[in-house]
């Protein structure tokens, strides 16, 4: 009888001791300098080896090179997937525990962090190491009150990608105007083919359609003006854009039940050739060019065209794009190794620009010299488009504050599901924007 008791007491003791041991062995990793006296830079990024192998490897190689050149520095990475990255960054910021270097999105995302005095201005390092390195206008997306707080890594613009085989089958031409586009939609829908797939549940993929229509109908600056209070959300052109979205929905222009499909779900329809078109951004290019996971047959069938112009609309230039910088790097203001962190992030941006197109198929925010690179034709064309672009309007949800961005996603989902009228769609935006500008 006594034995049982002893056993249970012993067990609890073992538990406690093992807990204590686990505790002891982990205490060293949080200090600023490692055991061998090196300075440690903590770098948090969102490219796990599993899902973003190419990006992961580039970053890993760059870190190794840097550590070889700077023997007194050690770069420690923490890698999370994008959703969890956002969540954790939020918690870390609330406790003022940001990593020395981390990733940020532009405009609306970075602003609260700058206003909360969390980030270090990077103009000094840009002037010293990255002068004229960026494509004009991109770095400015990470600026607040004239100071740059983020070094952009990516730049994406959106196109309509289409399945050439399906187009040929129904004798369709690439549409130049929205009327022509509607005819394409009609032909496809009449033949039981899904004209375009869109993951409206996630909001942002659906927003591409709305943004392009607003750009073509109301002119290339209209959405930016709305955010800066220079134009009104209930401008007739924007109402018209929302109406045209619903016209397309009524025509059967999108995959059924799009408001419950995620971008990944929707992409499946295009990848399986069930849908003829997919309006998405250049981050999808590897799937149509270099990705070893996708069949060559499929890649050969994919082409792209610029979003058609709208008859009588103000945005007459087809070379105006909707797009924007993706992620960039920030350096924490309270970092104890701020100088080193700045130096490393500039190094990373530079090297990233040299490798990202060829190794990961990502278009960097820095200028790329295509002449010396062996690239798939689609990349060369798109890089050329980019250099000839008359305008790139940054995504509406990226430009706006987190609250407006979230509302915009909800509303655009509802617009595609016809749970909101175009009038109500703009009104709810206008109300939230007005509340913010108070």
């Amino acid at each position: 009888m006594l034995k049982k008791k002893t056993v249970s007491v012993l067990m609890s003791l073992i538990m406690l001791v093992s807990l204590a041991l686990v505790g002891c062995s982990s205490s060293s990793s949080t200090e600023e300098s490692s055991a061998d006296g090196k300075k440690v830079i903590k770098f948090m990024h969102l490219w796990p080896e599993g899902s973003s192998n190419a990006q992961f490897s580039i970053v890993k190689d760059i870190i190794e090179e840097y550590e070889k050149e700077h023997t007194d520095i050690k770069v420690e990475t923490e890698i999370l997937n994008p959703d969890q990255y956002r969540e954790k960054l939020k918690v870390l910021a609330s406790s003022n525990e940001l990593p020395d270097i981390g990733m940020t999105w532009s405009d609306g995302f970075i602003k609260p962090y700058v206003e909360g005095d969390m980030l270090a201005p990077l103009d000094d390092i840009v002037d010293a190491n990255l002068k004229d390195a960026f494509i004009p206008g991109v770095k400015e997306s990470y600026a607040v009150d004239g100071k740059t707080y983020g070094l952009p890594l990516e730049l994406n613009i959106s196109y309509v990608f289409y399945n050439k085989e399906i187009f040929e089958k129904y004798n369709l031409e690439v549409p130049q105007t929205f009327e022509e586009y509607k005819n394409v939609v009609k032909t496809l829908a009449d033949n039981g083919v899904v004209p375009a797939t869109v993951g409206a549940k996630d909001g942002w993929p659906a927003s591409f359609w709305f943004m392009y229509l607003a750009d073509r109908i109301g002119g290339s600056t209209i959405l930016t003006d709305v955010i800066h209070g220079k134009a009104k959300m209930d401008d007739p052109a924007i109402v018209k854009a929302a109406e045209e979205v619903q016209n397309l929905v009524d025509m059967g222009g999108f995959v059924k039940g799009s408001s419950a499909l995620s971008n990944d779900d929707a992409k499946g329809y295009f990848m399986n050739e069930q849908a003829a078109m997919f309006l998405t951004a250049t981050w999808e290019l590897p799937n149509y060019t270099t990705s070893p996971d996708v069949a060559q047959e499929f890649k050969d069938k994919i082409g792209y065209f610029k979003f058609p112009t709208y008859e009588g609309g103000k945005g007459t230039d087809i070379k105006s794009y909707v797009g924007g910088p993706g992620v960039g790097l920030f350096v924490a203001k309270d970092s104890k190794v701020q100088k080193e962190a700045k130096d490393f992030s500039a190094y990373l941006v530079k090297k990233w620009g040299e490798k990202s197109v060829t190794d990961a198929g990502v278009i960097p925010a820095t200028k790329v010299d295509t002449a010396n690179l062996d690239l798939a034709p689609m990349y060369i064309e798109i890089l050329k488009d980019l250099s000839e672009a008359s305008n790139v309007t940054t995504y509406f949800d990226t430009q706006s504050s987190p609250a407006v961005s979230e509302l915009h996603h909800d509303l655009v989902t509802a617009l595609f599901g016809k749970q909101v009228t175009p009038k109500d769609f703009v009104k709810q935006h206008a109300d939230e924007l007005a509340q913010e500008q108070e």
């Binding site: 939020k90 910021a93 549940k201 059924k256 419950a260 499909l261 909800d410 599901g417």
Partner: protein, 292 residues
């Protein structure tokens, strides 16, 4: 008897470790959540004290009450489905052939994480390629429902995977409770000529009523703070049609950067849970019951 079983030292020894743990790790956060609810705070940088403003806004917030209603509906639905779980458990516990094996199988969905369950049901509900609609089209239905995209049915469609996922949880507990019922009572009733249904109704259920009550509370409170699958499958959409309290809280605090308001929602959720639990206790109480 009483003196041995009311030894203060032993009581303290048994209760204190667990109590300290939840006071530190659950009650401090609860208090802090209530406190953040008094702030205008985006989670980054400085807080500004605004008194009860967030809570006043919460009481008037139509979206909050809509999401509360959705959570309550889920709670009602889960409670009703307890009847089904109980019947299944009664059958499985009545020593029919293969019960042991079936009981094991029934818990499998619970072993899977919400990531997997979400993926599976997204595929099942897909309006064109999904399992349900392919079947309906095969059966000659022209315009099958859009399920998660239809704001009128999305909430009810979501209840299906939730109930399905938690079936095993309740069955395993009911089953264990039924196995605790003394065999001689059942044998005696059988000798008296009672049929299985009478035995279940007159002997088994009254004996496990304590467990059933706890399960009702768990089902309702669990539903009120439920989040996972809804967030994965619809994110509360379309147009808020499947927004529940926890998803609303998350969106405000983490997506919209209204951490102060999000905290107020979290605190409101807690208060509603407490009220509901109190109500259930009242409704189900009998003399021998716990006092709260």
């Amino acid at each position: 008897m009483k003196s041995v079983m009311s030894n203060k030292f032993v009581i303290t020894l048994y209760v204190l470790p667990a109590l300290i743990l939840i006071l530190l790790l659950i009650y401090i956060p609860i208090v802090l959540t209530g406190y953040y609810g008094l702030m205008d705070w985006n989670g980054i940088g400085k807080m500004k004290f605004i008194g009860l403003e967030n809570y006043i806004e919460l009481v008037q917030d139509k979206k909050f009450w809509q999401s509360t209603w959705h959570s309550l509906l889920l709670g009602i639905f889960s409670t009703v489905s307890l009847v089904g779980y109980l019947i299944l458990s009664l059958i499985l516990a009545s020593k029919i052939k293969g019960a042991n094996f079936l009981r094991k199988i029934y818990l499998i969905p619970m072993l899977l994480s919400s990531v997997a369950i979400g993926q599976l049901w997204a595929k099942i509900f897909d309006p064109t390629n999904g399992m349900i609609n392919r079947l309906l089209v095969m059966l000659g239905v022209d315009n099958p429902p859009l399920w998660l995209a239809d704001s009128n049915i999305v909430l009810y469609a979501l209840f299906i995977p939730i109930v399905w996922q938690y079936a095993g949880f309740y069955i395993i507990i009911f089953y264990a409770a039924l196995k605790n019922v003394p065999e001689e009572l059942i044998e005696a009733a059988k000798i008296d000529g009672a049929n299985p249904i009478q035995i279940a109704y007159k002997i088994k259920i009254p004996l496990i009523i304590g467990v059933i009550k706890v399960m009702v509370i768990l089902a309702i409170v669990g539903s009120l703070k439920y989040f996972d699958l809804i967030f994965v499958l619809t994110g509360g959409g379309p147009n808020g049609a499947s927004e529940v309290m926890a998803s609303y809280m998350y969106t405000e605090a983490f997506s919209k950067y209204n951490f102060g308001y999000g905290s107020a929602i979290g605190f409101g959720l807690l208060v509603i849970c407490l009220i509901m639990t109190w109500l259930i206790q009242k409704l189900l109480s009998s003399k021998e019951d716990v006092q709260f």
